[in-house]
């Protein structure tokens, strides 16, 4: 995935001289995850810039650059180190188009490696997507496959609105086959995709939890479940159509993500499914999420992260709930 993201930036920079990459260590080092490797060599320091170590400064200057017509692609080194930039994000990046009645759009892409499962020490594994989703004016997307990593990042850079591009860092080094010479495009920002079709329940998920759900869907076959897996890809805008169609077909849904459950992304998704699918549902919409605790130290993260077993437990409860509802009739 890291290679696909790199290729996406290279292609965007080659096509459009206004695309500029900036952040901490993105130049000489090529980023701590090597996602920007070689961009400075190819495009020069002005197009791929090692900035001073200041996230508010990075995003704040990107605002000014965007005002002048550039398309900054900003790297925040790790999820939890983006927090100093929240003032710029919430007060300016997200609101500028609206405040200026469309005269100052903010075509900024903010790349945020996020999530756990890589054994990182504290402040290196936060799932911060709920903060971004709760800020109107931002688009929030997250790829789960290598092909999507390329396509979504191209779409994000091409978008005239600010996009928070959440990179699931534990999928950076996946071994998926991918042809960098023939990269696939995605339809754009805002379309979910059915990764696996099924008939008995829908797993609604995104980013690092997609492979978990795919594995759970395989495992559930043994118990007679035929699970559909919807990969949201884009959290804002939210592709209600794909989700609603799927749940209406299957009649049951579980939302799965790593971020905390309470006031987490799944709350919004479950509520929406409840509103739009109420009469089709045979069980309450369930959520499988990370616990409502600060991200734990590496040796305990396996107990925190929602894995295949927790997803399967929830799926089993879907059946139980429906029995219970029927029994009550």
């Amino acid at each position: 995935m890291a290679q696909a993201l790199n290729r996406a930036m290279r292609d965007a920079m080659a096509e459009d001289p206004d695309v500029h990459v900036m952040g901490e260590d993105v130049g000489t080092l090529g980023g701590v995850f090597r996602v920007t490797d070689g961009l400075t060599r190819e495009f020069g320091e002005e197009r791929c810039t090692d900035t001073p170590l200041a996230e508010a400064g990075i995003l704040g200057t990107a605002v000014g650059m965007a005002m002048y017509g550039l398309r900054p692609v900003v790297e925040m080194q790790f999820d939890a180190f983006a927090y100093p930039s929240f003032e710029q994000l919430a007060s300016h990046v997200a609101k500028m188009r609206n405040r200026t009645r469309g005269r100052l759009p903010m075509p900024i892409t903010i790349r945020v490696p996020y999530g756990g499962g890589i054994g990182g020490v504290e402040h290196h594994s936060d799932s911060s997507e709920a903060y971004y989703m709760a800020t109107p004016g931002l688009q929030v997307v997250t790829p789960a496959t290598v092909a999507d990593a390329y396509g979504l990042l191209r779409a994000a850079i091409a978008s005239d609105d600010p996009v928070v591009f959440m990179e699931p860092k534990r999928l950076y080094w996946g071994k998926a086959e991918w042809d960098p010479e023939a990269p696939e495009q995605v339809p754009g920002v805002g379309e979910a995709v059915v990764r696996r079709s099924g008939t008995s329940a829908t797993l609604i998920t995104y980013g690092p939890s997609v492979p978990v759900c795919m594995e759970a869907a395989e495992a559930a076959r043994e118990d007679g479940w035929d699970l559909e897996v919807v990969d949201l890809r884009s959290l804002v805008p939210f592709d209600e159509k794909t989700v609603v169609e799927s749940v209406r077909r299957t009649g049951r849904a579980v939302v799965v993500h790593e971020s905390q459950g309470f006031a987490g992304p799944g709350g919004e998704i479950a509520a929406r499914v409840g509103e739009r699918c109420f009469h089709y549902l045979e069980a309450p919409v369930l959520r499988v999420a990370g616990f409502d605790v600060p991200y734990p130290p590496p040796m305990l993260e396996k107990h925190h992260l929602p894995g295949v077993d927790r997803v399967l437990d929830a799926v089993a409860r879907l059946q139980w709930e429906s029995d219970w509802v029927e029994g009550g009739q």
Partner: protein
């Protein structure tokens, strides 16, 4: 004539009462880093024989600690270790400049300062081992947790020092930050608060040349990081960060000044990080062996040891004793770190709030059930 008609000659004379009267000259740092080793300073008079020997002992222990911790990353016993090899003089001097009641605010690299302050060397590694976020009791040790988000601990140091003064306590706070961290907004805000409040706090910048891969020249255009002090209205001091005696002396003065009500000081110690940023970093991408080797000749441990021997302060027997002590410490760390830590998954829910929420109790029950099922499966 109005001000607008005289560009460049804007003067207010006499200055209005609301403008602080600060003469910048005494605040400015020296052009060259302050040194004591290799000069004819009378070190036995100041800082004195005992301090010299303590500095030496802690330096040797510190070097050994860095080596041991790095070895533990190779054995997979530590998740990661940001070595301070090459920077031991700053670390040790920071710890030794403080009195018992003072507080230290370390960055993620400053494990050694915490150890030199007397903390259990294994507790200091907890964060990096990965069984819990933090080891020691900060209030008992008067050492704040190692701060990973850069520069964010600096305002804490200012607030604590300010609070201590409000309460009439004789407490100074010393906060450590790297050269990269000085670019963060929190650095600016902390220094400004400290100066306006005249808080008893000292800021030590360990300028080791790089913020991961980014060299100082891309971090700042200031003549030195110590120069930044002047803009806030506090003195800036520039010191050779590999000269343990000089760092100790400059920090000692700054701490004493803060203690006497003289306000904050910004100290820049010029040093070098000999290892990569962490064991996960590849430093050959951004610097050359030649550069690293040049700094090897200016090694803080050897500089002090050589000088103390030349001056007859350190003899073979003492040096041997010190080396043995360091070796013992390392063996102790090895032994304790080689045992698997006792993992307590239920601790995930402890101390998130003073009292668990209903949701956390529910989640704790879920994990309990999972663990029980797992144990049963294994039995």
């Amino acid at each position: 004539m109005t001000v607008l008609e005289q560009p460049g000659s804007y003067r207010l004379s006499p200055p209005p009462a609301w403008r602080p009267r600060v003469d910048p000259a005494p605040l400015l740092p020296d052009a060259e880093p302050y040194r004591l080793l290799g000069t004819d300073a009378d070190l036995e008079k100041a800082p004195g024989r005992d301090v010299l020997l303590r500095l030496h002992r802690e330096l040797v222990r510190g070097r050994r600690y860095n080596e041991q911790a790095t070895a533990l990353t190779r054995q997979g016993r530590l998740a990661v270790y940001p070595s301070s090899t090459g920077q031991e003089a700053c670390e040790v001097a920071a710890a030794l400049a403080l009195k018992e009641q003072d507080w230290l605010f370390p960055s993620y690299r400053d494990t050694l300062a915490a150890v030199a302050r007397g903390l259990d060397p294994v507790e200091v590694l907890t964060l990096l081992r990965g069984d819990w976020h933090h080891g020691w009791d900060p209030k008992a040790a008067r050492v704040a947790p190692l701060s990973t988000p850069l520069a964010t601990q600096l305002p804490h140091a200012v607030g604590l020092a300010h609070a201590a003064r409000i309460k009439g306590d004789d407490v100074v706070a010393l906060a450590l930050v790297g050269d990269g961290g000085t670019s963060e907004g929190d650095f600016h805000e902390a220094l400004n608060f400290a100066a306006v409040w005249n808080a008893p706090v000292v800021f030590l910048v360990q300028n080791n040349g790089f913020a991961i891969s980014v060299p100082l020249a891309k971090q700042t255009a200031a003549p030195s990081l110590a120069h930044k002090a002047v803009g806030y209205g506090m003195p800036g001091r520039l010191v050779d960060g590999n000269d343990a005696v000089a760092v100790h002396s400059v920090l000692g003065e700054a701490v004493e000044r803060a203690r006497q009500g003289g306000g904050p000081t910004l100290v820049e110690a010029v040093t070098y990080r000999m290892e990569a940023h962490t064991n996960a970093d590849d430093s050959t991408r951004y610097r050359t062996d030649g550069e690293v080797d040049a700094w090897r000749d200016h090694d803080p441990v050897r500089l002090l040891e050589r000088e103390l021997r030349e001056r007859g302060v350190l003899d073979d027997a003492t040096a041997e004793d010190v080396a043995e002590g360091a070796e013992e410490m390392a063996a102790g760390i090895r032994e304790r770190m080689n045992a698997d830590p006792e993992l307590r998954p239920m601790d995930l829910f402890a101390e998130v709030y003073a009292e668990k929420t209903a949701q956390l109790r529910e989640q704790a029950a879920q994990l309990r059930a999972e663990l029980d099922a797992e144990a049963e499966g294994n039995a």
